[in-house]
Amino acid sequence: MTDALLRVDGLTKRFGGVIASEGVALEVANGELHAIIGPNGAGKTTLIGQLTGEIAPDSGRVHFAGQDITTLPTYRRSAIGMARSFQITSLFLDMTVLDNVALAVQAHSGHSFRFWTPARSETRLREPARAALARVGLGDRENVVVRDMSHGEHRQIEIAMALATRPRLLLLDEPMAGMGPEESARLVNLLRELKKEYTILLIEHDMEAVFALADRISVLVYGRVIATGAPATIRVNPEVIQAYLGEQQVAGHG
């Protein structure tokens, strides 16, 4: 496939006896929203970690935009257009929302060996940050210190920070984790908008959201991709139902 933005081959990662990724192969085409689903501990977050370079795979390759990035440091991957949100919120808690997002802009606006001009008065940093905040619905909260905000808002900042790096590929690790139904619904709407502009790899347990948004779905179980395909085929795949969706439905009703 020539228009694959992200291509992963034979990715394997062990933590002692635990196999978190086992020969994972994956392609994310330009412009698609590709969802990854799977039970807890299946290795979804570990996969994202290997895509962004935080975790070094034991073997396998990662190609991004036609370049082998398997050994590229995390910050360089960000520079060439990979952005992630964290499943467990990871923000600058002691700074304001705007400072958080402006830092993400700053990272992509040349080097930071600039010692004299006050960064908070640089419109080049503040305006794009404000735009990203407006996008996720936090436009009126820019001066609040992140620590003092709600969990749902933290989730929104996660996405705003990823957007502020102007990525080509968004890696979203359970963006709805811990959100109430109303917040989730708003986020689904946002993702539907973002889908038009970005290539997205979405990890999510909310099956309603996944099946509403995804162009394709890969199912990860015990570190292995057991199925990849359109939502309609995944929904009726017996192996998937047995390994994950069945359990999901039980959990959903219980």
Binding site: P73, S90, L91, F92, L93, A102, S112, T117, A164, T165
Partner: protein, 315 residues
């Protein structure tokens, strides 16, 4: 923009006014000791200010910061001993050596975090301390008397105690101003981001190591300058200024005054040395009071004295 009339700003303004008036006061009461004490306070406040840059803003708790006091001092002392008295040579060389040593220490220690970083910086400082002890030509652990202060021709006469005091004060204010510009610049945002959440910094595209290393070098260099001043002030340099307890004192000054606050280190240094001076005048066993008192302030006022004044909680 006019600074707001808050308790904290008023205290800082009064403190600065007092510092400017110290030589006048000393002249009026004809007591040189006060001037000497405050010269020391101002110099150590500069060292604490530089430590605050890495520790308060950068989250790099160096337990070896006093090493740069010694390095700056020894460059001046050794050059003076060898007959090179020009400050135009001594001072830049002292800054250069401080920067180089900070670069090497930073390069080797900034890969570690937390307690490991504290221990490694301590270990490096101890190494430098023992280098000082082994300098037999330059007095070994007895130290080295500096018979003539750095010479700047007709520009400035450091032997004039009042002139020297004002020079130290101006350099202190210059370092505080420098830190202020730095921490609000892009560089400073990167430093503070790395303190707050280094993992996120990498994820959004920052190679933080180079910024943290640069910050470490800047702080070491400023502290080296404080060392140059200290050696000129005491006309003496010995390994004792680099003892690990001195590094501990600097940390206490910063924490006492308020980490990550611009004037915190100055406030902390004044409080530390004034308390030390006052308590040691009352009783021989002053350290028994001093220790718990510091502990109480650090524990109950987590933002230090500056935090108390500002009435805000920092954690």
């Amino acid at each position: 923009m006019m600074p707001a009339l808050t308790l904290r700003n008023v205290v800082v303004a009064l403190l600065l006014l007092m510092l400017f008036l110290v030589p006048v006061y000393a002249a009026v009461i004809g007591n040189n000791f006060v001037l000497s004490l405050f010269t020391r306070i101002v110099i150590l406040a500069m060292a604490a200010t530089s430590l605050n840059l890495i520790m308060g803003y950068g989250g790099m708790v160096s337990f070896g910061h006093a090493a740069y006091l010694g390095i700056g001092g020894y460059v001046v002392g050794i050059l003076a001993y060898e007959g090179i008295l020009s400050g135009f040579l001594q001072w830049p060389l002292a800054l250069l050596v401080s920067a180089l040593i900070a670069f090497v220490i930073g390069l080797l220690s900034l890969r570690t975090r937390g307690v490991y970083f504290i221990m490694i910086t301590l270990a490096f400082a101890q190494m430098i301390y023992y280098v000082g002890v082994s300098l037999n030509r330059y007095g070994a652990d007895d130290g080295l008397t500096i018979y003539r202060r750095s010479q700047f021709g007709d520009l400035i006469n450091l032997s004039n105690k009042t002139v020297f005091y004002y020079l130290c004060l101006v350099l202190l204010l210059a370092s505080i101003y420098l830190v202020w510009r730095l921490v609000n610049s892009r560089f400073g945002m990167a430093i503070q981001g790395a303190r707050s959440n280094d993992r996120r910094m990498h994820a959004i595209g920052f190679p933080t190591f180079r910024y943290r290393l640069t910050c470490f070098v800047i702080a070491g260099t400023i502290c080296g300058l404080a060392g140059v001043l200290l050696a000129n002030h005491t006309d003496f340099i010995s390994p004792a200024v680099m003892h690990w307890t001195r590094s501990g004192d600097l940390i206490v000054m910063v924490v006492l005054g308020g980490m990550g606050s611009l004037f915190g280190p100055l406030i902390g240094t004044v409080a530390f040395l004034a308390l030390e001076e006052w308590l040691s005048g009352i009783t021989e066993y002053w350290q028994i009071i001093f220790g718990p008192l510091l502990l109480a302030i650090v524990l109950f006022a987590r933002g230090g004295i500056d935090g108390l004044l500002a009435g805000i909680r920092r954690d």
